[in-house]
Symmetry: C3
Subunit: 174 residues, 3 copies
């Protein structure tokens, strides 16, 4: 397994991680505005009033887009090897894992693969859920705690389980 | 999303977190008696010989009740927005997540909701399992590692999976 | 619940944890060769070019065997109460949990039980997956992110879900 990234890319990420450690990781909970500034300085496109908790783990801020009032909870992991976009007022709860990277295990060199993830407006990815590469979560959809989302989720639906299944349709029917 | 808690409540929790960090987080594994003292000082109702590991995360000790010999493992999360009660000799293993809080995602302001969790006498919530708000786990029941419990579990049953299903009934039949 | 381990065993593990903390935990990502040296000094049998990330958690290095080019990712947990063996070129991704220990909950004293885990050559246990005691993952098999593996996985198969099911057979058929 060789690294999938150039030396300059890896240096940039090491520097980013160091920045977050020194500037953000220890900051008190309410200082979202400050952490947003740090993320923007590193290329994140963030709307107004975004909340990013201090223990959130963002792989590459330059691949992160968040709409107004979007929220990334404590220890949530944004593994944005490919771009990840969070819609306005969406919430990614504590320890959820948006995983935009995978590997092609059929090839000897196990190369990294990736595909963007999109979380819709007012959608909610609950605690410890996992969203796999290439997935789109529709507007207002809900992903239950601890679920693993392997297919796109339609707007307004609630999914849960591993693999995640629809437990409540867009019309509120179970 | 506005905070669901008063300023005084949030200050109390910040102070509690600081207390745990300074007084307990770094303490050697065997010092359960000391950590129990710290928890009791913050309002937890704990029986004798309780074990609480140093990396356990307890949201609000004043909402925690543990019977004699109950155990909270390393990095287990007790998210007791509502009261959480652990029966005597019950075990919550490492990184398990007792989640007594949720959100009403249908409302614009995404308000916090909560419901108490009760773990029965001699019940076992194995590693990395998740127990959702309002759930009761019966006496002697077992929740398999990594399971997500969405319904009450009867006494003596073993459940596993996501969503968790009964894999062994109270009489030991599969 | 009494400890299942002798005092000397527990002291050895405390010393091992301290060693990793002082010598390895803070080391920059590329220093795999150094961390391999530390593990070998503590009795791990490791092939050439093994990668072990700094945040990996290894319970007992003297119960760990890794073939050439095998990899243990960030914050993966190797709970090797019983021996755990990783085949050559196998990958255990970030936060995966190889859990070789359990408890006999039917007995009053809740004794530890354990059974070895074997991960095959070129097999991949993806992020946040859980592998239970006694499981063998065949050569070239893949365990999907967040899965919980409760049965042996045949060579070349892909499994996913909780409980994990075969989603792609050895011949590549879905």
């Amino acid at each position: 397994m060789t690294s999938s990234f150039s030396l300059s890319h890896r240096l940039a990420r090491a520097l980013w991680q160091l920045s977050w450690l020194l500037l953000a990781r220890w900051t008190p909970r309410p200082l979202h505005a400050w952490r947003v500034l740090v993320l923007r300085a590193w290329g994140a496109r963030l709307g107004v009033r975004c909340h990013v908790y201090a223990d959130a783990v963002i792989w590459a801020p330059w691949q992160l887009t968040m709409g107004d009032d979007a929220c990334i909870g404590d220890a949530a992991e944004i593994y944005n090897v490919a771009p990840i976009t969070l819609g306005a007022r969406s919430v990614v709860s504590q320890k959820a894992f948006l995983c935009a990277g995978s590997h092609d295990h059929r090839r000897e060199d196990f190369p990294l693969t990736s595909a963007p993830i999109t979380i819709g407006v007012r959608a909610w990815v609950a605690a410890r859920a996992i969203v796999l590469p290439g997935i789109t979560i529709g507007d207002g959809a809900v992903v239950g705690a601890g679920s693993v989302v392997t297919r796109d989720v339609s707007a307004g639906c609630t999914v849960a389980g591993n693999p995640a299944r629809v437990v409540r349709g867009a019309a509120g029917k179970t």
